[in-house]
């Protein structure tokens, strides 16, 4: 316990404290001015908006992939299972360049999507695509083991009681995997908030339109405006922290209902 606390302090709390202290260098008024500047606000909107979009996609797609990987046996399943981790293993910059190449107007996907009216590269959608790509494994890998542990007999009982498949999913299966799914989505969202490498290539980085907060932090750092960089970082931190807290609260509330006291 003592050791745990020590490492927690060293690895997590210390940098965060340093960050917050840094913002106070310039005073609270300056902090407020930085984070409410139109460019910063626009970057929050882009970042959070795209992260929400990306998480919405990952939550559905990740759940589907986890389900397919655990419930079906088909040739190539092991390969698909391994491929799920690629976004974890790939340097995010590589992912960013690859996605840009795919979705650019002359890319494999872009050449069909753009004439059809879906512009992905250099738009908010592009930002969301990059975020989804890097964060979907969080959902797959948290949900998969839980689906694996579901006992078939429980679903079979539901069937003999008259429940059709979708009823069983909605009333039995999903509630059982919900805590894991929520955790996976939260991690995906938090990761998306901070994603930098994969996003900046495909985003186009137009201030007020596709500029993410992480990039704005980077720009402020390059200008040696450390307090401004730290101020924006604190906001991202606060959003991530708030999300984690909320989901934790939801989970412990759910857990309390199921687990023996």
């Amino acid at each position: 316990m003592g050791t745990n606390l020590f490492y927690l302090t060293l690895i997590v709390l210390l940098p965060i404290t340093a960050l917050i202290l840094k913002t106070t260098d310039a005073g609270l008024a300056r902090f407020w001015e930085v984070i409410t500047s139109p460019r910063a606000l626009a970057s929050f909107e882009v970042t959070i908006g795209a992260a929400l979009l990306a998480t919405a996609f990952s939550s559905v797609y990740g759940l589907l992939m986890a389900w397919i990987l655990t419930r079906y046996r088909f040739p190539g399943r092991a390969l698909l299972d391994a491929l799920m981790d690629i976004p974890f293993a790939l340097p995010t910059a590589v992912a960013g360049i690859a996605l840009t190449a795919l979705f650019a107007g002359n890319g494999w996907f872009g050449q069909y999507l753009e004439p059809a009216g879906f512009k992905v590269a250099y738009t908010l959608t592009g930002v969301a695509v990059a975020m989804a790509f890097t964060s979907v494994p969080f959902v797959v890998r948290t949900v998969q083991p839980v689906i694996e542990e579901l006992r078939l007999e429980v679903e079979e009982s539901a069937a003999t009681l008259g429940a059709w498949q979708w009823q069983t999913f909605r009333r039995i299966i999903y509630p059982a995997i919900f805590p894991a799914h929520l955790a996976g989505c939260t991690m995906a969202f938090a990761r998306s908030l901070g994603e930098f490498g994969a996003v900046i290539f495909i985003a186009g980085n137009l201030p007020f339109e596709t500029e993410i907060s992480a990039l704005l932090i980077f720009i402020r750092l390059e200008e040696y405006d450390y307090p401004a960089a730290a101020a924006i970082a604190v906001v991202l931190l606060a959003v991530a922290f708030f999300t984690l807290l909320t989901t934790n609260a939801i989970q412990s509330w759910r857990l309390k209902r199921v687990v023996k006291d």
């Binding site: 009982s157 003999t160 009681l161 429940a163 009333r171 039995i172 023996k260 006291d261």
Partner: protein, 351 residues
């Protein structure tokens, strides 16, 4: 509802699991499926529930083909050995589940459902536990919740797969008597799977003994106990002595055991084995007897003796009243004479 099973066959891959099962279960009958592990009991039950489909054969219920119906419409109550409760729902919600998932036309009103749940909680002696979660109950209570959940849809057929397997001996005994009472009161047709022959003999109207995917014997407890159809059944019913026989002038004899009463049994040659139940062996103190008492184990009012012959490794088990131990002063190391009162003879080719 009567269930008619004809020539049911089922394989998993190359391995045949059911090999031509024919069985007619009468309306309101309580049938026990008994058999060793892997004999296909669960598979048969799952086919009846609609969770598995046979490769061949028919299942008809009240003259209707059951195999083209999914589990959802068969209206069977199914209870697994490990309960399979919905852990994230309260006990009351578990029990209500089968009613809540009905389509609007057939779903009872909410207060009717709640009343039904209360009624079942009382019936199962689970009063006051409706708001708990499954994790907060004991094994016996969970098993009764599983039963209540299955009964909520008012099934005509109740299928139980080793329902008491995970419970301790006392709870098992109580629950199985209670199950028998419930079966009689609700007027269902019940099929239950068990490993435990005592359980089957005690509560079933009829016992079906499965072995390697075939029905070895079916009948009432008396029929099966008094007239086991095969050496398998006799062995399965528990502790039986198997001794080789000798043929003396056309009459059978057994080394070390007096078998006078058995002499009229007909055999063609001496390739046969005599099965004697421990309770059918008389033990009399006799200094010139051929056997020695090796151990005495107490079984409540009765005692079991392990007996050995000189220069022989076979051990014969005999069971007798503890009273007799006392009056005859039987104890370890004592020499005794054994007499078989009855037994069954099986050709060695059938073993």
């Amino acid at each position: 509802m009567g269930i008619d099973i004809q020539q049911l066959g089922k394989s998993f891959g190359p391995q045949p699991v059911l090999r031509g099962i024919d069985l007619a279960i009468k309306d309101r009958e309580l049938v026990a499926l008994l058999g060793p592990s892997g004999s296909g009991k669960t598979t048969l039950l799952r086919i009846l529930a609609g969770l598995e489909w046979p490769d061949s054969g028919n299942v008809t219920v009240n003259g209707q083909d059951w195999l083209d119906q999914p589990p959802q419409t068969r209206g069977v109550g199914l209870v697994f050995q490990h309960y399979a409760l919905f852990e994230h729902m309260t006990i009351a919600e578990n029990i209500a589940f089968g009613l809540r998932v009905r389509d609007r036309a057939r779903r009872p009103a909410n207060d009717v459902i709640l009343a039904k749940v209360e009624e079942l909680l009382d019936l199962m002696e689970l009063g006051g536990l409706g708001k708990r979660y499954p994790a907060q109950l004991s094994g016996g209570q969970r098993q009764r919740v599983a039963l209540a959940r299955a009964l909520a849809i008012e099934p005509h057929v109740l299928l139980l797969d080793e329902p008491f397997g995970a419970l301790d001996a006392r709870v098992r005994r109580d629950l199985r008597r209670w199950l028998r009472g419930l079966h009689d009161r609700l007027g269902m047709t019940t099929v239950f799977v068990t490993h435990d022959q005592e359980e089957a003999l005690e509560i079933a109207d009829r016992i079906v003994i499965l072995n390697e995917g075939r029905i070895e014997q079916e009948g009432t407890a008396e029929e099966i106990y008094d007239h086991p159809a095969s050496p398998f059944v006799q062995r399965f019913l528990g502790g039986v002595n198997e001794v080789p026989i000798r043929l003396l002038a056309g009459r059978i004899g057994v080394d070390g055991i007096e078998a006078g009463v058995l002499k009229r049994m007909a055999v063609a040659n001496d390739n046969a084995t005599l099965f004697i139940r421990p309770r059918d062996i008389d033990v009399a103190p006799n200094p010139n007897g051929s056997a020695t008492i090796q151990t005495v184990s107490f079984l409540g009012d009765r005692a079991r003796l392990d007996l050995a012959f000189d220069g022989d490794t076979t051990v014969i088990e005999a069971e007798l009243d503890r009273d007799q131990l006392r009056t005859d002063k039987l104890g370890r190391g004592q020499r005794v004479q054994l007499t078989a009162r009855q037994g069954r003879l099986y050709d060695d080719a059938a073993l």
